[in-house]
Symmetry: C2
Subunit: 449 residues, 2 copies
């Protein structure tokens, strides 16, 4: 197979004090509680020419599992809300993309469209929206629901939500705001498009009350790998943040999703596949393994089972024997694809509950690589060259140290192999990712009275 001519993308996934569930207990992690911590992380990634920083999110705290949760940082209590944090970072960075997770389940599309357009304008075209549905019953209880919205309903709402947001982003054409001081015309009504959306979940007239975003539309990212998730991504996403454990699965997923695009008049390059990678890097194999073992040693059993319960979307296993196998599970209304990935993994490798929670404590269901810079670069290169990924979201085990390790040790190796940029070539997140500006839809302009 000929080598790919494009370069790979790198995102910095900034989760708490690091991606490992016990990162906050590590001597190598910062507290990650202040804006200055996140400024440091974002500048590290920007200096290394990463495409973006990426913030996860949830909107509920699992108080029903409080005793176990009291031992872990990852309870749904985030130090900042993502859109406000990335807005702050927009003022002190200049090139790196800023991707925030915001749920379609408990927001109004007008507000989401407006805040992302605002972030895109604040940052000069660096905003991305990770569109998720909320898979967590604790969140539903904060938004007038008595329990989780069923999976199918969440996706139907998400699809309509994405349509409304995209439509609102098209409200004003470039050049609609004339600001002609002499003539006194502030804007040109002929360049205004009124959405007038009336659907099953939303009635939204528009237009969006903000001038056009520098990127036309902020980049839309999605994370779902379930069947409805892939269907939604093929129709509306421009990057997909996914998790496959093996090269074969990654290649199959890549081909599956890219193959769905033509149906919507899209090209394969209109959607980038960016799986998460949890890298533990050492100058030597034994140093890498030592770092990883140290982090694993910080996990208490109740934290491990609690984390696993979240990932499996069930509390059934909370009181199970950690040395026993994964029991048969009821179907969940939570993240279906995540449950299936983990159950498959346990079956395939004969893992106990403890084995399984140790396996996900770092990567959280994503791909885990532990080794030397060249071992890690080999694996990333293999996935990239075999069309299993267009790039990777780097889930540093600890922040900032794990990110520093990756940048100091692995990035130069990727550059030596011609796989990653030396300098930014463009100014926007679309430029970095190699994404075209999406075509505007063409609703009729509103006739001025």
């Amino acid at each position: 197979m000929a080598r790919r001519k494009d370069k790979l993308s790198l995102g910095a996934f900034l989760l708490f004090t690091g991606h490992h569930v016990a990162a906050w207990r590590s001597k190598d992690a910062s507290d990650s509680q202040t804006l200055q911590d996140f400024v440091q992380f974002a500048r590290l990634a920007e200096d290394a020419k990463f495409d973006a920083v990426f913030l996860a999110d949830q909107v509920g705290v699992k108080i029903d599992r409080l005793n176990a949760a009291s031992r872990k940082a990852h309870t749904g209590v985030y130090p900042f809300e993502p859109l406000t944090l990335l807005s702050a970072l927009s003022a002190v960075t200049s090139r790196i993309g800023l991707v925030a997770t915001v749920s379609t389940s408990y927001n109004e599309p007008f507000n989401v469209a407006r805040q992302f357009a605002s972030l895109d304008r604040l940052s000069g075209g660096r905003a991305g929206w990770n569109l998720v549905t909320s898979t967590d019953a604790s969140a539903a209880l904060n938004f007038n629901h008595d329990g989780l919205i069923p999976h199918a309903d969440r996706y139907a709402r998400a699809e309509e939500f994405a349509d409304v947001v995209n439509g609102l982003w098209d409200s004003w054409e470039e050049g609609a705001f004339l600001r002609d001081r002499a003539d006194g015309r502030y804007f040109d009504p002929a360049k205004l498009h009124v959405l007038d959306h009336r659907g099953r979940h939303f009635k939204v007239r528009g237009p969006l009350n903000i001038p056009p975003a520098p990127q036309g539309r902020p980049v839309v990212v999605q994370a779902g790998s379930s069947e409805p998730g892939k269907a939604l991504a093929a129709r509306t996403a421009e990057a997909i943040f996914t998790a496959q454990q093996t090269l074969a699965d990654a290649v199959a997923f890549y081909a599956d999703v890219k193959g769905r695009l033509a149906k919507f008049g899209r090209e394969p390059d209109d959607l980038k596949i960016l799986p998460g990678v949890f890298p533990v890097v050492g100058e030597t194999e034994s140093e890498a393994k030592e770092k990883f073992d140290y982090l694993q040693s910080l996990i208490s059993p109740e934290v491990g089972l609690d984390l696993l319960a979240t990932f499996l979307g069930t509390t059934e296993i909370l009181n199970a024997d950690p040395n026993g196998p994964v029991p048969a599970l009821k179907e969940t209304e939570g993240g279906k694809s995540r449950q299936a990935l983990l159950v498959d993994l346990a079956r395939r490798e004969g893992l106990s509950l403890r084995d399984l929670y140790l396996r996900i404590a770092g990567a959280r269901g994503h791909w885990q690589v532990v080794g030397t810079p060249s071992q890690i670069a080999d694996q990333l290169e293999e996935r990239f060259e075999n069309y299993g990924a267009d790039g990777f979201n780097i889930m540093a085990p600890t922040l900032p140290t794990g990110l520093e390790d990756f940048i100091r040790l692995v990035v130069p190796e990727l550059r030596r192999r011609g796989l990653f940029r030396e300098e930014y070539e463009g100014r926007t997140l679309r430029d970095h990712l190699g994404l075209r500006r999406p075509q505007r839809r063409k609703p009729a302009a509103v006739a001025a009275e």
Copy 2:
């Protein structure tokens, strides 16, 4: 009467290119379309030791009045969304308060509570929320409604919304997050308070998924001066942004609102009265008048009538003769107090529609002062010393020039009179405004399982 011992507060109201409706056409105004413009404005105000910058907001564009609107900037199209813009400013300022308008009509209280708590954490305790209800039918159409929510319903929702937000801000006590690396306890369940709100408009369990805000609760500001507005402010607001034309009205309003506080167990100092002031400052009276006349000359009649229609909450006058009187108006479901203030003003002074729109084109129903630094300082001092105000929201006619004028000419005069601070004494917006930290409510802590 003995002189007041406290000092007055100053806010910088940052509206578009300046508060005057034709500011954007002025040779003295910036475009105010980039983050850097707003950084400049905020730093000007911070260098002058203002208490806060203040952002207004709307969430709809009045497309039914598009031809007139095409001639003015103030159509509801804001260059940025307020929370994202203030978050960006939090990273490049260090002392000034950051107050954003967010409506209770079309948001979820959990999201609003969280974003303001996040802004408070980003800024080290400088966040304020200007709680409004949306008085604009164009906004309703963007949020699943077929028309404006009736006034009484908006206020009932706002009251419950404020209760939920305040309750959510009390979710975690100071010290709830232990982050004890050795012991492995991340937080202390005994310092968690679960709201479990079940009301007419909202069911919100909580807790809020963010650590406590530095101010305990961000400062709550309100703008309504109607009867339900004053009632809501007396119960929940800590600052009130109001508009009275005369000293007598200002003193009466001040006494009325402060007199309502005891009923809720609050002290007069727990609520600051901060009316808007539109100052046109000149070194001489004739220079001030010249500046003002220049701005007034930039207003076209269709812009004037359109602005007036917005303020009266009716389109009835759009095609009226500008030289005729204000006709009898139908009662509005929009901002009742604003309509009444303007109709009273026109009756009292026998103003034509044109006279009235010229009167509001700058101050927009707020108090307009045109003169020399000492004339303006005299008027501010009179209102302050007579308990008609605790401070003022400065609505610069043009940005940055009008704000620069006020800071260069009027602020030193206020300082000479001992009315305004020379330096910041505290670090938070509460410190600047002289507001106590509100008492936490004491719901029972959730028992850990």
